[in-house]
Amino acid sequence: MTSQNILLRFLVLALLVLFSIVFLAPFLWMISTSLKPLRETMSLPLRWIPSVIQWNNYGDAIQEMRYFWRYAGNSLFLCVMNVLGTVTSSSLAAYGFSRITWRGRDKVFLLLLATMMIPFPVIMVPIYSLFKHLGWIGTFMPLWVPSFFAGAFNVFLLRQFFLTIPMDLTEAARIDGCNEFEIFWRIILPLSRPALLVVALFQFMFTWNDFLGPLIYLTDQKHFTLALGLQSFQSENGGTSWNLLMAASTMVMLPVIILFFFTQKSFIQGIATTGSKN
């Protein structure tokens, strides 16, 4: 038994290493390009190590983007607002769709699923008109206010997790006389901390990298976000500074990577304790 185990573990490790190389290669290429002088970004044969390691590409990239730190501040603001809005509204809605049985609940849930099937470009213009009438075009409002109204994806995700918590917990609490909000606040939320963390993290990542929203609603360049600012490297004349773009991209990715690295243990391993499994 043990030797089969060891063989199996070795095989698994080998596969993981193989896949890691495949997954990591483009990323390493990205970093390697970010340190190259422009002429070497396009040379044959391929070089992984630049002949001259141009650390100044990073400084140049920041300069090229002009308002780099401003963009970072804008991105951060939007991420915080969106995470706040998403976690509160989605958990409330998910509770309503999973822990209470009410007439028509599952049919309304299908409606929620249906909203995810509406292609965004279709509703883009009517939503744009709506924001225009509210006078929100050119401000940050369209980029965070909607998060307080529970996006379907997050409600779906949390609902699936809430469903794995046994109903007898809430039944017992109801018998004890707790109202729904108390059950939500004191029982379900604490048990779902890892799932909520997942929602928060995904929302943070999505907002941090979102460029379509800012592209449409922001007009003043000083309000741009980092993701949108990266576009400034794609010049209209067909002259993309590959190395600067990769340098800028690496910098833009860094905060989210660090965030994920520090939170991954708690939410992946912690999600396993959702419900009464332990």
Binding site: L24, R103, M117, V122, G151, F153, A272, T274
Partner: protein, 305 residues
């Protein structure tokens, strides 16, 4: 309705009220507007003129639209199963007792953190037929094959060759499965350990455990990821759009339905026609999602109930 039912209804609606409000204002209203616009000739700056079903009639005979539909279905047919198998396999591997799990997790998740613009441009580069990483990696293998079989194979010009372009996009999308891997991992660790323990006592092997315990226990997660994958793939737009710099690929091989919609809306300013495409796309997604749900109903087990 009984008092209990009324009580539950009140609380249920209360809890979903933020979603409900958003649903009406940000989904129903724009969608209905879109349906109305799809029956009009509307170019944003001039008022919409009602033309009935003309847009739909034109769509039916528009061979570019059918091409975009073919491209989208082709892409979805390969991308969805491939990414499901890949992400599930990686999650299963990561769930085993291996050293340095944390590092592997980060490696697989990293690609999904790359900003859209950078991702597209990076892969545009990787897929370059002449100088890209992938072609360079393939060249020695093809060289070997050429040597033994006397063929003259060269690495394809991925994004510039109509026959390979979609595969280039599929590869790019597969690189980003990290998010699904994390979700699967969470689901896998939810599986009660005692089930595996009793299986071990009974002397089952790895495959049997996989098929009879693991997969059924994480079926809600598989369902979730598959539905999200279906909806996402049928709406694919951003990645190919940035990679083709706003174009539709060689011989329109990268023109997806959402791309054609965007082109009609924001390049040609035919909003009415674009909205008609959107309505059709929505219907396709709806039908396929319902079909997928019905087909897998029997296999999805919720352990909480």
């Amino acid at each position: 309705m009984t008092r209990m039912e009324k009580h539950n209804l009140k609380w249920g609606l209360l809890f979903i009220s933020p979603w409900l409000l958003g649903f009406v204002v940000l989904s129903v209203y724009p969608f209905v507007s879109s349906i109305y616009y799809s029956l009009c000739d509307y170019s944003v700056l001039s008022p919409a003129v009602y033309v009935g079903g003309e847009n739909y009639r034109e769509l039916f005979t528009d061979e570019v639209f059918w091409k975009s539909l073919y491209n989208t279905l082709f892409f979805a047919a390969f991308a969805i199963p491939l990414s499901a198998i890949l992400s599930l396999s990686l999650a299963l591997l990561l769930n085993c007792n291996v050293p340095a799990k944390g590092i592997f997790r980060v490696i697989f998740f990293l690609p999904s953190l790359v900003p859209m613009v950078s991702l597209a441009i990076l892969w545009q580069w990787l897929l370059n037929g002449d100088l890209g990483l992938i072609s360079s990696a393939l060249r020695p293998f093809l060289g070997g094959i050429n040597y033994y079989f006397g063929t003259a194979l060269t690495p394809p010009n991925w994004l510039l060759d109509a026959h390979y372009a979609k595969w280039g996009i599929i590869m790019t999308v597969l690189w980003g499965v990290g998010q699904s891997v994390v979700i699967y991992l969470a689901g896998l660790q939810d599986v009660p350990v005692h089930l595996y323990e009793s299986a071990d006592i009974d002397g089952t092997n790895f495959w049997q455990k996989l098929i009879h315990i693991t997969l059924p226990m994480i079926s809600p997660v598989i369902y979730f990821n598959t539905i999200m994958g279906l909806i996402g793939c049928l709406q694919v737009f951003a990645v190919p759009y940035v990679m083709t710099e706003g174009g539709d690929g060689p011989e329109r091989s990268l023109l997806f339905v959402a791309t054609y919609l965007f082109q009609n809306a924001f390049d040609y300013w035919h909003m009415g026609y674009a909205c008609a495409i959107g309505v059709i796309l929505f219907l396709i997604i709806l039908v396929l999602t319902m079909a997928a749900t019905k087909l897998t109903e029997k296999h999805v087990h919720y352990s909480g109930k």
